[in-house]
Symmetry: C2
Subunit: 515 residues, 2 copies
């Protein structure tokens, strides 16, 4: 049936959506969320229908995404037809009903995700059923491969390619900024891509951006890797696994993360990684709570690595407090720079060197951690980081004191004396975000005490940094409300751990979707 | 933060959606699908955010639904803030993770459904988890009560109120058009509301509309019931259980129906039903395949009825072929009128009388089915139906031959001889829809043979009616392709029932969402 085009002049967040009136929709047997094909000249695309009451008859309302594909203008005539339900929808339904999917079925789903043939309702149902039904290792493999095949890949013309990844969940984890120059300084190639924060106070891309631009394209990445053996790039705009980026958009509001493994490994494979060390921070207040969980996840990583031809080693790391003292992009960049200059906090240096060491051992080098430490102590890691900063367009001479922090600072002091028995990672992250991180990059939290430290009443536990008085106040109020630090004489003396109120309160763990 | 209003001038299908640019969204910590509160003068509403790239900065794009609630005009300033995640979302997440929900948790979800505080992604995930995790009878009760409490109810000032419902799935099921006048003619009150077809060739409202208007408001329903003890109204615009209407919009594209019981019984309770007979058509080609399934469903109906103070009896009926011979609104209205005039097909009359009989027996009348038959034979049922037609604004003198059928007719003839061993309900429905039903109300299929009938090669099996030559041709081509009738000498002689092709073909059972 022919329809006259009405340009709506707005974007639909990347979705291919059109609007038609209910009368004609009904005549064509089209319901809301049904797919239609739209033909204009030689172009034919599939879009998802919104049926609207009171919309002009025989008129098709077109969002900008559709307009760009069809190159149609206001008032022109297009041919609209009900499209067949995509085959992938049948496979999604089978997954809902508990059947394991075969590789080509998964491929057809992921292809339709990337082509925007599936509606939000269908995507949400798919990720919900993946979460509830679980995914077999075969399905995980299929999902990963499909995500790679539907995205771009990059060949650096070097071998072997090393890489490092953290499953995330611990604030202040700037380890990557050390691992990459250590590994590259040893002569290995490590083209690292990272993400920005979604729900955390800083992602690695946010941290590195304090030192140099991270928004590299493929050519710039290749150039950086050619000159320095490494890069510290933001992976978000590279289209390495676009299906994952689209699925995250429905996972995030639902607070579920059934695609953790495919999401991570598809992006690693896309940049050609052959040797990968995966950091699994573990413990209370971390994404992974127990060593048992960490081991199960590590087994999945290793098995999936075999199927993808990536050698994987997993490091289970202590995740019960922030890494180092700094949380927030600029604070963390400064701390990382200090650490690479051999002036860093011991836990950060140990973590970076043990992970770099695992990579070295995979390459046949003995005592990897010792080698990594020597690379820091010798100044080679610092030199390499400055090379990377330079090639990405930053100031290679940057000093820690050059990095600007938020001008507004408040102190949180202890009301008790004893030792720091626990630090609530989540609350620290919330306070840093309230202060403005990651958007306002000078904002964040700088710890003054860590686990096991002695504390007197009135001692500063941490300082809150913000670029803006108002945000600082919000963060301070939050800090006063939350039990961020546990300070007592002896751990375990305070016996009442929690009290469940009779009145139900809405107490919900914030969802962390950082990989 | 203050934003300038840009009216988008289009509807979002009832959803409360706004659009803001990515930069300011990010500054406010708002992601796509997050909720915001919008304040304007004394009004404050919650809407769901679409984050758009290239949208004017500090501008809020407003769909008509939001505009109507806020009464805001172009260029005015509104205050936008990130809203807290509704508590109901935590409950949805608990359901995703397999916990049974308590009554007040369900209430908070259904309230947020009706208030439009939940996005499509969240609704889709909720119905998917209901489908996968299942619902306990307590949850079904909670869902039903919440749907009633969030909708309108109607009091007819009469008692007892009787009602009849079919879970659907069999084409040509015009039984309601007989049951209602039979019951009302016996002096009982039966204010029947019905739905239109969603995926079938005709719903009861579509059939009745051939005889008289069905789009009654509460006042008109009360008037009809006062005068005739009955009505045959379309329930869709009465807002009896608006949550159900909204949830169907996501169930339909997913082809899942986890809310069957709450959907049906909330609407019955809303009109005050106290005695209800539920028809469960059962058999191959029907929604419910086996007597065992039918019994389990019946038990749920009866138990839920007890909790809602509705006396329920269930009738399991033969569902392996269409009811009567006619499929399609006008064809069925004609057949129903003939049947109520005592000239109808025996299966239709038997079905209607046995269901009406169950209601009579619930009211303490013995031999209910016999009584129902006498009401037809005596002409009282016809008289009552004509009263109902008159009070709803139709022509009470309408004769079967007055009802206009599609002018274009084609015949489907048998290529084999023997007896009719099976009729494929689904294919019959598809052909009727291809011919134009239910929109074009004269379109449909009129069977000439039914199960057990003797057939010679060349005999007419059924006729296809359409208002339009082109649609007729589509229906005929479909009819030639589908094995609609099984004609063989002896059932079971043809041993090869199906052949699974080596090449996978997309073969998917169409989803029926008719209640």
């Amino acid at each position: 049936m022919e329809f006259k085009v009405k340009l709506l002049g707005i974007r639909a967040g990347g979705k291919q959506i059109i609007v038609i009136d209910d009368e004609y929709a009904s005549r064509m047997g089209i319901h809301s969320s049904d797919r239609v094909t739209i033909e204009f000249k030689n172009k034919k695309i599939i879009a998802i229908t919104n049926v609207a009451k009171d919309f002009p008859k025989k008129t098709i309302g077109i969002y900008e995404e559709v307009q760009e594909k069809l190159k149609v203008t206001e008032g022109e005539t297009v041919k609209v037809q009900a499209a067949e339900r995509p085959e992938s929808l049948g496979h999604i339904r089978e997954k809902i009903n508990g059947r394991k999917l075969r590789q080509e079925e998964i491929k057809s789903i992921i292809l339709d995700v990337v082509e925007r043939h599936l509606s939000d309702v269908e995507l949400a149902s798919f990720v919900t059923s993946l979460h509830i039904r679980g995914t077999s290792i075969d399905e995980v493999e299929g999902l990963t491969k499909a995500m790679i095949e539907t995205g771009k890949t990059i060949d650096f013309g070097k071998s072997p390619i090393l890489d490092k990844h953290s499953v995330g969940g611990v604030p202040g984890d700037k380890t990557t900024i050390l691992v990459v120059p250590i590994v590259a300084a040893a002569g290995f190639t490590i083209p690292k891509t990272s993400s920005r924060a979604i729900t955390s106070p800083a992602g690695t891309a946010d941290r590195v951006e304090v030192l140099c631009p991270v928004d590299l394209n493929f050519e710039e990445m290749r150039e950086a890797v050619k000159k320095t053996n490494a890069c510290l790039a933001w992976g978000g705009a590279l289209d390495l696994a676009p299906a994952d980026d689209l699925l995250i958009q429905v996972e995030y509001p639902l607070s579920i993360d059934p695609l953790l493994l495919p999401s991570i490994l598809s992006k690693k494979k896309a940049i050609g990684a052959q040797y990968l060390v995966v950091d699994i921070p573990t413990g209370r207040g971390s994404k992974i709570k127990t060593i048992g969980e960490a081991q199960a996840l590590a087994q999945d990583f290793i098995e999936l690595g075999k199927r993808l031809d990536i050698h994987i080693q997993c490091g289970v790391t202590f995740g019960e407090q922030p890494v180092g003292y700094a949380i927030g992009p600029a604070l963390e960049a400064r701390e990382a720079l200090l650490a690479v200059m051999n002036k860093g906090p011991i836990d950060l240096v140990n973590k970076a060197c043990s992970l770099a060491g695992l990579l070295f051992e995979m390459m046949g080098i003995e005592n990897g951690e010792q080698k990594a430490k020597k690379i820091i102590q010798s100044g080679k890691a610092e030199k390499k980081l400055r090379e990377i900063i330079a090639v990405q367009g930053g100031n290679p001479k940057v000093q820690p004191e050059d990095i600007e922090l938020g001008k507004e600072v408040a102190e949180a002091r202890s009301k008790e004396s004893g030792r720091v028995q626990w630090i609530n990672n989540r609350y620290i992250a919330q306070i840093a975000r309230a202060a403005g991180a990651p958007k306002s990059n000078g904002a964040g939290v700088l710890l003054n005490k860590k686990l096991g430290d002695k504390v007197e009443v009135g001692d500063v536990l941490y300082r809150i940094y913000s670029g803006n008085k108002q945000k600082l106040n919000v963060a301070v109020r939050l800090s006063e409300k939350l039990e961020t630090f546990g300070v007592t004489g002896k751990f375990g003396e305070k016996m009442l751990v929690d009290r469940i109120p009779t009145e139900k309160v809405s107490y919900e763990k914030p969802f962390v979707l950082e990989r």
